[in-house]
Structure formats: structure tokens, C-alpha cells
Symmetry: C2
Subunit: 164 residues, 2 copies
């Protein structure tokens, strides 16, 4: 079971003085002159609007409800496209349910995903200390950072209390 405690809705709140948003995938694609097909539009809008993290199989299932012709291969190819353009992030969510990958539209602030091994809840968390760490890493390592993935696994507050 995947329970989402704070996702986009709450994530879009504020982080200090800053607002966390998800830039429009469609616009980004257009700006980069990417050829748009009906299926791409469909898949992209599903990813953009999904309230939960989608894996390839789920994305396919949802897409098929609108266009039964959509094929697995197209889903994977579209994911690869978006990933290579840096428009979506790939997550494992600590492999709580198998080895699949999950995807979400990139936010203007990186955030981490915290998964509860007990109940499967996923919490999203953005903080300025994360930003500071990124700066720190970039400066000291000399790397030009393109993607960051921070995932945490443990026991959520409720499960921790229940266990003890």
C-alpha cells in the first residue's frame, strides 16, 4: 500500500519564502522543439497531473483507458525522452514493492522521498539543508550536478510508536 502524506498538493506550499512548483512539461517540451504526438501529449499530461508516483506499468494502464492502442514500448520511450531532457525524476522509493522505478515531474526545488518499511507511506521533504548540501557537494567535488536523488527508508512516526 502506498500512502502519500505530503505530495504535490502540500509540496506546493512553501519552503521558507519559496514556493515549490512543477514546471509544465508540455511547455518545456515545446520550448525545446520536441515533436509532439497524440500519445506523448497523453502520457505527459498523466505524469504531470498524477497525485501519486507512477511506475511504467501503471502509467501504461492509465494511458490505455484513454487510448487503448498505447503500447508499453511507447511508455518506456517517452519516459526515456523525459528523463534525458531532465524533465522528470526517477525514484526507487526504497524498492518497497519490487524493483520498478517511479517517475515524477521535476520540481523547482529538489526534495527527498522518505519511505516507511512498515506501512509503505511515502513522505516528501524539501529543505534548505538539502540545498546547502548540494552546493557543498558541487563545490567540493567539482561536479556540475545534473540529477540528485535522495531516498530514505525507515519507520514513520506512527509505525515506530506502534512497534514500541
Amino acid at each position: 500500500m502506498t500512502v502519500i502524506i505530503a505530495t504535490e498538493s502540500q509540496l506546493g506550499r512553501s519552503k521558507g519564502n519559496h514556493i515549490i512548483t512543477r514546471p509544465s512539461l508540455m511547455e518545456e517540451l515545446h520550448e525545446r522543439g520536441v515533436r509532439m504526438t497524440a500519445q506523448r501529449r497523453l502520457l505527459v499530461s498523466i505524469i504531470q497531473d498524477s497525485p501519486r508516483h507512477l511506475d511504467a506499468a501503471t502509467l501504461l494502464k492509465i494511458a490505455k483507458q484513454k487510448d487503448s492502442a498505447v503500447d508499453r514500448a511507447t511508455v518506456y520511450r517517452t519516459i526515456a525522452l523525459l528523463k534525458n531532457l531532465g524533465l522528470i525524476d526517477e525514484l526507487d522509493l526504497m524498492h518497497l514493492e519490487g524493483e520498478k522505478h517511479y517517475y515524477e515531474a521535476k520540481t523547482n526545488w529538489d526534495h527527498c522521498h522518505i519511505a516507511c518499511f512498515q506501512c509503505g507511506a511515502i513522505l516528501e521533504y524539501a529543505s534548505s539543508s538539502f540545498e546547502r548540501l548540494k552546493q557543498d557537494i558541487a563545490k567540493r567535488s567539482g561536479f556540475q550536478i545534473r540529477v540528485v536523488r535522495l531516498e530514505v527508508g525507515g519507520l514513520c512516526e506512527r509505525c515506530r510508536k506502534r512497534a514500541s
Copy 2:
């Protein structure tokens, strides 16, 4: 506080005043009363001593050189055992070469892995800001953290300069 940058081989140096070490897997297993077989001893010692990050197939290949009877299934079962006991960490290394997972004996300080998309170099990086972020996350989320995975992808200094 000082922060160090190190590749696998250099990891084990120092982090400020602290020494980064990899506790003995064998001892940990013994302490927990885990039944030890010849193959477990072999696999565990390979993981413990490996200077690079191992994926299941590579671990199998190395193990077979010592004991040709070792089977893939045993490798996966041993990895699962160690992972569930929290004795090894699982990494993706940004999927630079396929979807496989890599494993390493846990260190007493969490560290992040930075991968160069261009040349494939992997840099390991431990810092006090990482520790601070972990504290921050634990406190704010109420989670009891068990595993942390921070992976970064980008261009290393050399590739960045070469590209421009």
C-alpha cells in the same frame, strides 16, 4: 568541520576528526547468531574486501573463481540477507550501466555517490552537512531512519572542462 572527497580506495581515510570505516560483516553476522556456511563466508568476504562496487553478476563471477559451485540464487539470497540486516547498502550509481544494483559494506558514516554521466567515474563523498541533513529529516518527519541513499549524477570536473 572538514569534509573529505574520496574515491572507493581513498574512503577509509578521515572525515574531520573521524575515521571512516567499514565494520566487519563477519563479526556482525556472528553477533547476530546468523548461521555461517562456507559460501556465505566466501561471498561476505568478497563484498567486504572489494575495492569497487559489486553488482550481483560480478560478485557471482568472483565467487566462482574460488568455488565453482556457487549459484546465482545463493548470491541473491545472501545479498538479501545482508541487506535486511542493514549490513550492506544498495546503490544504483545512476544506472550508468544498466539497471543492476551495486552493493557495499555499510560505513560508519553515510556517504553519497557521485557519478559522471560522461566518463563513468564514481566519487564518494561524506560530509557533516549530510549528517546534519539526516538529523534535520529525522526530526522534522518523525521517521526513525534506517537507510539513506544519496546519489548524484552530473559531469565531473575533467569532463566538464573538456566539454566547454
